[in-house]
């Protein structure tokens, strides 16, 4: 039995508002853990360095990491050593 009928548009074009989410969190073998939140607040640029935009800042201050998308690449932990640590999953 067909559960859900999806629609593919002409030429497979996709409206941004109709894009289906694709979670890449299952890719990771290591997970970043933030050790020093105060230090994170001084380096907002790390949000741009994360390829998945998974390091979330709110009001200029570090908020959390979006583990739905984090691929565990380790760029953040390498940029801010001692502040973020990569732990084996």
């Amino acid at each position: 039995m067909v559960k859900e009928i999806k629609k593919v548009d002409l030429g497979a074009r996709i409206l941004a508002s109709e894009s289906e989410e694709y979670q890449t969190g299952s890719w990771r073998k290591e997970i970043p853990v933030v050790k020093d939140k105060e230090e994170m607040n001084k380096h907002v640029e790390i949000a741009l360095y994360c390829p998945e935009a998974a390091i979330v800042y709110v009001g200029g201050k570090y908020s959390h990491i979006d583990y739905k998308f984090c691929k565990g690449c380790g760029i953040c932990a390498n940029y801010l050593k001692k502040v973020i640590e990569m732990k084996r999953v």
Partner: protein
Amino acid sequence: MRALINGNYAVSYAMMQINPDVCASYPITPQTQIIETFSKYVADGKVTTENILAESEHSAMSACIGASAAGARVFTATASQGLAYMIEVIYIAAGLRLPMTMVVGNRGIGAPLLLHCDYSDSFLARDSGWIQIYCKDVQEVYDTTLMAVKITEETKIPVMVMMDGFYTTHGEQVIDTLSTKQAVNFVGKKPKWPNMLDSKITFGNVSLTDSNIEVRERQWRDLANSSKSILGIQKGFEKFSKRNYGLYESYGLKDANTVFVTMGSSYQAIELTCQELRKKGKKVGCLRPRVYRPFPYNELRAELKGKKIIVLDRAISHGAEFGPMGLEFQGMGREFYNVVYGIGGRDFGLEEAKDLVGKFLKGKQKKFQFYGLRKDLKN
């Protein structure tokens, strides 16, 4: 308004009347006059079209795709090597379902390099998904250019309008043009289609094995059903012009037992020959497909049932049993013959038509032959 005009100017004039948003083009014989005259219209302020003079045909068609994806009414023109160069993007334009009009001045594709008419260029795009319409004379080119704009915007399938290189592109004929007001009223206001400037949309994305065939089937189905729209729009044009067009044109089919099938300007020579022979009591008829894609196979099969058909091909399909048109028609009629003629612009006028028709009426001919090869040239 009556005008003495050639095919190139007719296209340019029609486009000037409707003042499209964008024109992206690259010059190539025999279509250079289209873009030259159109550029003069732009320079004189007779149109407010954005004229992109691209650095190649590939880029010209790419710019057309970009412009249509941004919601603009767009047209271009090309021929021969140019069409072959842009073939990659021609497939993409049809796949993306973007409205656009392209006029092709049929010229054969080299090698050896040639400047004159045969249909090897537009036949290259047969499978691409474009609507293809072949015109026999300048009047039809003018009319079809206007109709094409309406067809493409209604069906969301790009349209290719063909005219014979040099015979129709450069040959001047007296035609009836619509007034600019009539042309604008007929073509109508540009409808809204999903585009990049009015919404946030991704075009041209990847469609893998999970969805590709569904998208293609829809494209195939829509092209097959587009003949309904084409007929409707042509009927609408009749109200403005008093000229009617169908998916094909024929003469004397009803009681003919021998039918000659051809396309483009050579149809006029065949038709004149058939008319003369009719006066002498010979039951001959002729037919030309006008809309080649989507091919009206049901209608043509019915029309040609039980008749001896001779299909004239102005192109070669190397390695196949027949020419490209021959391959489409081979299942039809009671007896089938295929003749390749006029390649590389070898003239096929009234004399040649009479000679060929005479040959087929007189005696048995080979199933497939080349017509008009020089006897004094060894090859």
